[in-house]
């Protein structure tokens, strides 16, 4: 058990941006809300998944919708508790612990809000170990945990209870309800018992986000290289140091798609790289050779500050260090690759683990 206080949330937000692999939304709003909830209700207890009773009831909390809406139409603040309460009502049993759905980006901070307000422990883990764009892209799906019953709640007090035949249908129906709700909603879903959580959860990712954030903060304070420190903490493979030469963006099928061209610098001078993204960075290449692909994490860090760079802020001239971080082993299975492998996103690439592609 580890207690998370107001200042820990700052580290979580910085670390979650690293796990966000360029996407996942800006954690700023969620961080402010979580810090406020902790100030009002006290620190959040973060527990290991093994500390759960087998018959515990756990459910993840998340925000769904467009990041551009979330920075403008802030939540009322009661939505997530409404969603949790209605889900409990439908389940007929109280939820005993909160889970994180997505440890990368803004959804790293949302579970802290509900955990603080309801006085529930938060399980140290999530369903991705990173960020992905769609609701069914969680390890829970592979363990046959249905996303529904799911409750989505909006700022006006509306809530929707979904019951679907599979998790991809949940994504479709929830996405259109989100749009009607004004582009953003808070959701409680994937309720499961403790026994299932122990199999299905990507472990330790909440404290990992906090540790990454703290590592960057401490390295900067003591003038050590924050990138080397992050690399050591997460077992990342350094892909290259480079400068961004060009960024080509377009919106296709509701995704912010595009490609960044990079030119190697320092030890990598003379080499040229590309990174392809759809909300998140999905494939990194040198010339036409794949260096890393989804589901392994591709993270771009600012060469000076060590802070993660998002797809929206990619710009000519940025000096970056690209890291490849091995994904959770569950994603490397056939079922995992069917959900989030390169072919799901339309790339004609066979997945190979980052450590095999780029060595150590």
């Amino acid at each position: 058990m580890r207690r998370f206080d107001v200042d820990d949330l700052k580290d979580v937000a910085v670390g979650a941006a690293v796990l966000g692999t360029g996407g996942g939304g800006d954690p700023y709003i969620g961080k402010l809300m979580a810090m406020q909830a902790i100030r009002a209700h006290g620190p959040v207890e973060v527990i290991g998944v093994d500390e759960l009773d087998d018959d515990a009831v756990v459910a993840p909390a998340a925000m769904m919708g467009a990041p551009t809406v979330m920075v403008e139409k802030l939540p009322n603040g009661t939505e997530i508790v409404t969603a949790f309460r209605s889900l409990e009502e439908y389940l007929g049993r109280p939820i005993t612990a909160v889970l994180c759905g997505e440890a990368g980006g803004l959804n790293s901070t949302v579970p802290f809000i509900v955990a603080a307000e309801l006085g529930l422990p938060l399980v140290d883990g999530d369903g991705m170990g990173r960020a992905f764009p769609e609701l069914q892209m969680v390890t829970f799906t592979m363990h046959d945990v249905p996303a529904t019953p799911m409750v989505m709640a909006d700022d006006k007090g509306n809530s929707v209870l979904l019951h679907t035949i599979d998790n991809r249908w949940t994504e479709r129906l929830a996405r259109s309800a989100t749009i009607e709700m004004g582009g953003a909603a808070l959701i409680a879903f994937y309720a499961m018992d403790g026994r299932t959580a122990k199999r299905a959860v990507v472990r330790g990712t909440v404290s990992l986000a906090a540790d990454i954030g703290r590592t960057i903060r401490e390295a900067r304070a003591t003038r050590r290289d924050p990138i080397e420190a992050v690399q050591a903490r997460v077992g990342a493979h350094k892909l290259f140091s480079a400068k961004i030469l060009d960024v080509d963006r377009r919106t296709v099928g509701g995704f912010a798609r595009g490609e960044a061209l990079l030119e190697g610098v320092d030890d990598d001078a003379g080499r040229s790289f590309r990174i392809q993204f759809q909300n998140e960075f999905l494939v990194a290449l040198e010339d036409d050779d794949v260096l890393v692909s989804t589901p392994d994490l591709i993270t771009l860090l600012d060469a000076d500050t060590g802070e993660a760079i998002t797809t929206e802020s990619l710009r000519f001239g940025f000096r970056v260090v690209a890291l490849g971080i091995p994904s959770d082993p569950q994603w490397r299975s056939d079922e995992g690759l069917a959900l989030v492998g390169p072919r799901y996103f339309g790339y004609d690439i066979d997945y190979r683990p980052v450590e095999d592609r780029v060595g150590t």
């Binding site: 406020q36 006006k156 919106t251």
Partner: protein
């Protein structure tokens, strides 16, 4: 046309007199506590030095960091009411929630939430409630607050709610100043609202300061119209500056970049402004500073102003040089350079000493640095070059070679080449900021989300362009010279109906009747 440009900085007030495109004379004076007497001294100095008759002066342009400094130092800020329309949304984070506590307290922390606001697609979140607003107005009046900021969800897309709320509040608060968030910022509620509140709390100071400028001009015997420069390097009338003081927040670095462009005749370049403690590096695109795309903090408050994208490094003429390993800055002797540096008889090894020891410059007494270890000098120079090169690479716009323009008092620290780029040192480089103020233009800007389900993209862009040009002309630009200088459209991912955010900027020369 005879113009006077003035830059009121934290340390120096500089002034230049220009006849059309040539600089006739320039002076540097100390900035004074009351601002007015420093400006007056600078004005009198350049008028005498240039022997221009006062009646010949057509226009005066002033750039100032006075309002930024007021926020940073938490002084002269008025008690302010922040009224936000958006209930039932947005209640989770009240206005000023992310401000430093001391700044929030210094303006009274008066935040009000009311119904209203729009969804991303134009629907109302809830209807405006006039009774609710009248109750809020009564409370504001009872507290004796005379300046109000109004924000509303998605007001950059639809400004109507903020205007209606202002009209209702004003009925009960006839003497109050109002700042609407849609007049200042873009999408991003907290940042835009922060800008509106900071603007509102500066309204008393802006009235006083603009009056001080007016008095300084009158004191110098000038009856020419005067303008202030804003963040994007363009002008606003004294009346606009009085109503929107936040628009001056980053005019300092902007003016030095624009001045650098003018003095060198180059429109696309990297500009290095070397001061005593820091060096600001920015990028010029078509003669204007490139704007920052991320939230910029002012006095600890997150904002989304139109700010130049400036990268600052801790390198200046007064930077301390330390050994093992060799480091230059970020500590600096600052304004004490002329006492503490070796070349001025002091005991501190500074970046200026290194430049003199390497034969780059002839400042103070070069004999005093003769004993400095030659290896150390070479190493320190290499460190300085690497710092500048790295920062320039960061701000560079294209892989093609672009020129580098160096301005500011510490420009001797920059070598004649930075990486593969040529360095240009224009004449009058020390007063580039006042020159930048003198040559400022007028702009009009549009930043809005268009639904491409309702009209084709070309039409949306055309509408935005026409509106930006109209806004520039209304702001005082000469019709013939006004043109669109920037169009940027960002498709909003995840949203249906092809919502696209279009930003357009139009700029024209000041029309002088």
């Amino acid at each position: 046309m005879i113009r006077i440009g003035i830059d009121v900085g934290g340390t120096n007030t500089d002034a230049v007199v220009m006849s059309d495109r040539s600089v006739l004379h320039s002076v540097k004076t100390a900035t004074t506590e009351d601002v007015m007497s420093g400006v007056l001294a600078a004005l009198q100095g350049v008028l005498e030095g240039s022997s221009i008759d006062r009646s010949e002066v057509d226009v005066v342009m002033i750039g100032t960091t006075h309002f930024t400094n007021a926020v940073v130092q938490r002084r002269d800020l008025a008690p302010t009411a922040a009224v936000r329309l958006g209930l039932p949304a947005t209640a989770s984070l009240v206005p000023m929630v992310d401000w430093p506590v001391d700044l929030r307290e210094s303006i009274g922390n008066h935040a009000y939430l009311a119904h209203g606001g729009h969804e991303f697609d134009g629907r109302e979140i809830s209807a405006l409630d006039p009774e609710e607003l009248r109750r809020i107005a009564a409370d504001i009046a009872a507290k004796g607050i005379r300046t109000v900021a109004v924000s509303s969800v998605f007001s950059p897309v639809n400004t109507e709610m903020e205007k209606r709320a202002r009209d209702i509040l004003q009925e009960s608060l006839p003497d109050a100043h109002f700042t609407l968030s849609s007049e200042i910022g873009r999408i991003g509620l907290l940042e835009r609202e922060n800008a509106a509140i900071m603007n509102a709390c500066l309204r008393d100071l802006s009235r006083k300061t603009v009056r001080a400028f007016r008095e300084a001009l009158a004191g110098a015997g000038l009856d020419a119209p005067f303008f202030l420069t804003q963040n994007d390097g363009t002008l606003m009338s004294a009346e606009t500056a009085e109503a929107f003081p936040v628009l001056t927040f980053a005019s300092g670095p902007t003016n030095s970049m624009r001045g650098a462009a003018f003095l060198s005749g180059i429109k696309d370049a990297i500009v290095i402004d070397v001061g005593g403690t820091t060096t600001d590096i920015g990028a010029l695109v078509s003669g204007f500073p490139r704007e920052a795309s991320v939230a910029v903090e002012v006095g600890g408050v997150r904002t989304n102003f139109r700010m130049p994208d400036v990268f600052s490094i801790g390198l200046g003429g007064g930077s301390r040089v330390t050994i093992d390993p060799v480091r230059v800055g970020p500590q600096s002797v600052g304004y004490r350079l002329t006492q503490e540096a070796h070349v001025f008889g002091g005991e501190v090894l500074t970046a200026t000493d290194v430049a003199v020891a390497a034969g780059r410059a002839n400042i103070g007494d070069p004999e005093r640095v003769r004993t400095v270890d030659a290896v150390l000098v070479q190493e320190a120079l290499a460190v300085m070059v690497a710092m500048v090169e790295r920062a320039v690479e960061r701000m560079r716009l294209t892989p093609e070679p672009v020129p580098v323009i160096v301005v500011g008092g510490g420009s001797i620290l920059v070598p004649d080449r930075v990486g593969d780029l040529n360095v240009i040192r224009p004449e009058h480089f020390a007063v580039a900021n006042a020159v930048g103020a003198a040559i400022a233009q007028i702009s009009g800007e549009v930043d809005r989300v268009f639904s491409l389900a309702e009209m084709p993209r070309d039409e949306a862009v055309a509408r935005a362009k026409a509106e930006a040009i109209e806004r520039a002309i209304q702001a005082g630009a000469d019709q013939d010279s006004t043109q669109v200088v920037d169009v940027d459209d960002v498709p909003l991912a995840y949203l249906p109906g092809n919502a696209t955010r279009i930003r357009v900027k139009a700029v024209g020369d000041l029309s002088v009747a």
